[in-house]
Symmetry: C2
């Protein structure tokens, strides 16, 4: 008999079916016994009045079993159906005690993060932890689908590079045969080159690497970067407007395709209207005036400032998102276009969401001579960037782009306390396994 | 005025439009002058009887220009339309001589591969070279869409690992803070762990790394691996059957969505019927009998054997694809399930396509004790694989999977001579840039 998935049961009422999955839970309620089966699509209860016949009290949790039985309506049960157990076969049995009670709620489990991550694959059997990556897959897929429809080409650019994007700090060195190489910090150079290659609009989903020392709840050293870059823009607002539309579509997609996961996780989706924007100068003034911050010499936002500006956006604009634009020139990389009318500031921006930076982007410099000059101004050697600079000699259109941290975006959508919870196998200062 | 893309022109006949793009070519034909404009969607000719008015003879090729004019039907032109030039504005001009004539055909250009790759971004402006990655994007997208529809979850697993999949050979070392780490050779362990985590069916699109010395036309050291892994299988044939269906869908998608690119490249798509399969033992017999090979002690296929077996598949099965199954146990990694009825051979297979291996896969060992024992048999230490082995203690279903090399598949679909042509920024023994 073909396997039926638990999610298909409501369409099979009255039929005899065959289920496969893990034993999530077994319990007795008066004269009736329940076996809760878990497969990739959810949970289903199998019931019997003859627990002895199936030796239910001898079955270990997390065993893999095959169940045969008839599907019957049961308003009290998940999906309104349950299985009347007729046959049960144990296929595979655990050979060691379980590290923790994977069938309990996150809250009751109250696991230390390290415990969770040390046993990552096992922990994902918990429906709550498992749901995080179903939501993430939807986020990533929506990113791609939206951009494909907007005429962007998906690209895959090398993560092994001879020189860093921003001058050699925070890079992981690799021994590449006889040469020294590094793990890429971002696909920045490549996506700009591919705009100039005539593709005009490109996006990439790929890991990037930052050898940063800090061990905080918002940093991992390998993260999934959702990048896009677009040519023939009028201003950086073409880039931010597109992200605003993307986020609208993303929330709709999550609402429609991840309702069960969001419910399991108790997550509340944000409303995405027209996302407000604040010039960095104004953001600084607000931090000083409304939040009593000392903004003397402030050229970047610390985590506290990000939270405060999101608080402000909530109060004044009723928005959980806010673009901070025109970051000072001193804090932005050499390829960032500055504002010709106000050259202390750039056309660089961040998107803050529920108190956390989830996107960084800008309009870029597209003029060859201006770019070479700015590399020098940053104290770097244009010769080291020949492979990047070359295409700018042959006419590259005005362009801009951004990068979204997939784990941070997942974290903020789902209200997770630590970004590591949104990475399947996170890498940090101290963690290299599993 | 809004920008119109060249591909939209057939819908705009009679209208006045604004085009943006690169100057692909300029030529005079009697009293009429033509400017061929290239944008991300294709080419369009603008015509004028007044070349002096627009100073056409002073415009450098590859300049970025803005054209205004009226769209009129012209049966001789691309898409049956052309632009009657009314205004022309040069926006950006190359500041250096072009490295080669990018508007000529690949064949006429006759570039050395190194020249092509040294100027990779520029070379992609050539419609033929540029088309390769539009086809690749469609291949990759079809892989994902097909698997999503089959209930697979997209995952992203770490590429920084503490130990290799197959025992430490051919790994690129990374300095990971104070620790030694390596670039992942495949997501093998992780995708198996995620099947066992309860996701049952997972896929991943991501780079993997092989520090292999050989510099051949079929090897690159960083390649895009299209991986899937599926639980609750009956046999390895569940895995190969799914790939057979995937390839059918892929050819259909390419036919429908990449017709222009395939035409530009002169590529012929294969017919995908039911892909034949040959037991390794039989393949060996055929190589000996039909191709005069010395198969004494042959436990793997060399490139010559792959070509010969594809030749055989063409003649006998009229197929450009062939699965070679049941590879000998000695050549397959420790996690490969062997055939219990014929334990010299495994449930491991390769897919050959037009003379080249494009897929490797197998049914895996899912029993914890069997796996530990086999690791020992391979002379490896189970303790080094604790992070991988743990989930097998808690019941993992029978499963199998495979990995497709995205560049090789692109290469074979398009008939490219070297796999590097199917990688945007290839990394090989000697190449680290661009």
């Amino acid at each position: 008999m073909e396997r039926t998935l638990t999610a298909q049961l409501p369409q099979r009422v009255g039929e005899r079916v065959r289920l496969l999955g893990w034993v999530h839970h077994i319990r007795q309620l008066g004269s009736i016994s329940f076996l809760l089966l878990r497969d990739r699509t959810g949970l289903c209860q199998a019931v019997t009045a003859e627990p002895e016949r199936f030796k239910l009290n001898q079955i270990q949790r997390e065993s893999i079993v095959e169940l045969l039985g008839r599907v019957k309506p049961e308003p009290q049960a998940r999906q309104g159906v349950e299985l009347e157990l007729e046959e049960l076969k144990i296929l595979i049995t655990p050979v060691a005690p379980l590290p923790f009670e994977v069938n309990r709620s996150r809250k009751k489990l109250n696991l230390k993060l390290d415990m969770l991550l040390d046993h990552r694959a096992f922990s994902l059997r918990n429906p709550e932890f498992g749901a995080v990556f179903r939501v993430q897959a939807e986020i990533v897929n929506t990113f791609r689908e939206f951009l494909r429809q907007a005429g962007f080409l998906e690209v895959h650019t090398s993560k092994i590079i001879a020189a860093g994007t921003e001058g050699g700090t925070a890079l992981f060195p690799i021994q590449y045969f006889e040469q020294k190489a590094y793990l890429a910090q971002s696909p920045q150079f490549y996506k700009q080159m591919l705009v100039g290659a005539g593709y005009e609009r490109v996006f990439e989903v790929g890991f990037v690497y930052r050898a940063e020392d800090h061990a905080t709840s918002r940093h991992i050293n390998e993260y999934l970067s959702l990048d896009y870059e677009m040519g023939f823009i009028q201003s950086f607002r073409d880039v931010t407007r597109l992200e605003n539309q993307l986020l609208k579509v993303m929330v709709e997609k999550l609402k429609n395709n991840c309702a069960a996961e969001l419910e399991i996780l108790g997550a509340r989706l944000p409303e995405v209207g027209e996302i407000p924007e604040l010039h960095f100068r104004d953001a600084r003034a607000i931090l000083k005036k409304d939040y009593g911050r000392n903004t003397e010499g402030m050229i970047d936002l610390d985590p506290e400032a990000e939270r405060q500006l999101c608080d402000y956006a909530g109060k004044v604009y009723n928005s959980e998102f806010i673009f901070i634009t025109h970051y000072p020139r001193k804090t932005r990389p050499f390829y960032t276009m500055w504002d010709p009318d106000d050259p202390e500031y750039t056309f660089g921006f961040d998107l803050l969401f529920r108190g956390l930076e989830v996107t960084t982007g800008s309009q870029r410099i597209h003029d060859y001579n201006m770019l070479v000059e700015n590399i020098r101004r940053f104290g770097l050697q244009p010769e080291n960037y020949d492979f990047y600079l070359e295409i700018f000699k042959y006419a590259v259109p005005p362009h801009g782009g951004l990068a979204i941290g997939a784990e941070r975006l997942t974290q903020q959508f789902l209200g997770l306390a630590n970004v590591r919870e949104a990475s399947l196998f996170p890498r940090d200062r101290f963690r290299l396994t599993p």
